[in-house]
């Protein structure tokens, strides 16, 4: 028996089942695809994804690393690119790009709507790391592109005891004008914990762990619009 502290310390299996399971653990929305493929005439769509689609402008739309293929089956205008090659094995009509810096070269064109919804691979960085990711994404955007970006506070490096996190993340989003992204809308939700009648607190996660409790919409080198709710 070997003792392991870090995930990449020992070789991992490369068989399909292992790769698929690892993908599934981090891509909860794949479940929607699994549900929907059983029904020819009906489909379930996540409320936040639908909100994104309602706010897209005419033109090309990409969901990157966000299980967007489940949406493509319903709304064929949606294009999808993923970071994990295992996706190609069950969904042919997707583009695989692991390296964000190469994304613009790999994609067939630039986009007018660009969504990254709680991409687990974007996490474990400071907000500066998120800026770097978004800088790479902007290379695949047309001017005026609407950018939908969301994540969880719990997976971003920040000293959670010395920082007002709401201010921290909002201030970061507002700073992205330096890479051409102007903040149009945001929804930052930390669970407001209050004791129940028995004096007990809930131990829930922050709201919407699937899509992320920190949601931002930007426009890339363009004008804001009236958000459709």
């Amino acid at each position: 028996m070997k003792y392991i502290e870090v995930f990449n310390q020992y070789p991992m299996r490369k068989d399909w089942k292992t790769m698929y399971t690892r993908y599934r653990l981090g891509r909860l929305k794949h479940q929607y695809w699994l549900w929907n493929r059983k029904h020819k005439d009906e489909a379930v769509v996540d409320h936040y994804d639908y909100f994104i689609l309602k706010n897209c402008r005419p033109g090309k739309t990409l969901f990157y690393a966000s299980a967007g293929y489940y949406l493509r089956d319903i709304f064929p205008e949606v294009e999808t690119a993923e970071m994990h090659s295992v996706v190609e094995t069950f969904y042919k009509d997707t583009i695989i790009c692991t390296d964000r810096s190469k994304l613009a070269e790999v994609l067939p064109h630039k986009y007018d709507n660009f969504a990254v919804v709680n991409n687990r691979a974007d996490h474990w960085v400071t907000v500066d790391g998120l800026t770097e990711h978004l800088t790479n994404y902007t290379k695949a955007m047309n001017d005026g592109c609407r950018v939908f970006y969301s994540f969880r506070d719990t997976q971003i490096h920040v000293n959670r005891l010395t920082t007002n996190m709401e201010e921290h993340f909002l201030s970061w989003a507002q700073s992205l004008t330096k890479i051409g992204l102007s903040l149009v809308w945001y929804d930052i939700r930390f669970d407001k914990k209050v004791p129940n009648e028995g004096g007990e607190y809930n131990t829930h996660e922050n709201p919407d762990p699937t899509n992320g409790n920190l949601k931002f919409i930007f426009v890339y080198k363009g004008d804001p619009w009236e958000i459709v709710t």
Binding site: Y10, L28, F75, L161, T162, F190
Partner: protein, 183 residues
């Protein structure tokens, strides 16, 4: 985008818990490896109990860990029966900061010692606590906050100091390990 173009009847899904693996998260991850592996953190806790001769153990866990302790020690139901309380349950880290301190004190009224594993990523989950006097090193800041909040208790930090990149099995056994007893 014209959302009416679809030929399917669309049902919107509000928040639903799509996560299904919490109860078997540890064993599921261990199966990814080409040879048998065991989480070092689990070994650390098991050896701590063995080498310090704790016999009656109260486990507060939320996934499939610490099986060795279940086999070799007497697992009791209440805090008051236990020589040591061991908490790896992620939910404990999701109390607001002041309530987390209250919970520790409550346990140590009943039991002599506590081995507490906290998930750093959940600390101050509700963003209601800010103490700018704490260290810039978040790992150290957590220890400082515990010591400041529990002055009548001895707190030994047995964690490693490292940057979390999501690859440390933290969601099976949390990363910050504290042995807490009354002074």
């Amino acid at each position: 985008m014209d959302l009416n173009k679809t030929t399917k009847k669309v049902t919107l899904q509000g928040y639903t818990n799509l996560y299904k693996w919490a109860k078997v998260y540890n064993s599921l991850q261990m199966k990814f490896f080409t040879e048998p592996v065991k989480m070092r953190r689990v070994k650390q806790i098991e050896d701590f109990v063995l080498l310090n001769e704790f016999e009656k153990v109260k486990l507060v866990i939320d996934t499939d860990v610490l099986d060795n302790l279940k086999r070799t020690k007497t697992c009791v139901d209440s805090f008051s029966e236990a020589d040591i309380v061991i908490i790896t349950d992620q939910k404990f880290s999701r109390y607001p900061c002041p309530e987390l301190i209250n919970q520790i004190e409550k346990i140590l009224v009943e039991s002599k010692s506590l081995y507490l594993c906290l998930n750093r990523n959940y600390i101050n989950i509700d963003n209601s606590y800010i103490d700018p006097t704490l260290s810039d090193n978040f790992c150290l800041a957590i220890t400082q906050w515990l010591r400041k909040s529990l002055p009548d208790y001895s707190i030994v930090d047995m964690s490693l100091d490292y940057v979390e990149y999501g690859d440390y099995f933290t969601w099976a056994v949390p990363d910050r390990h504290y042995f807490i007893t009354k002074k």
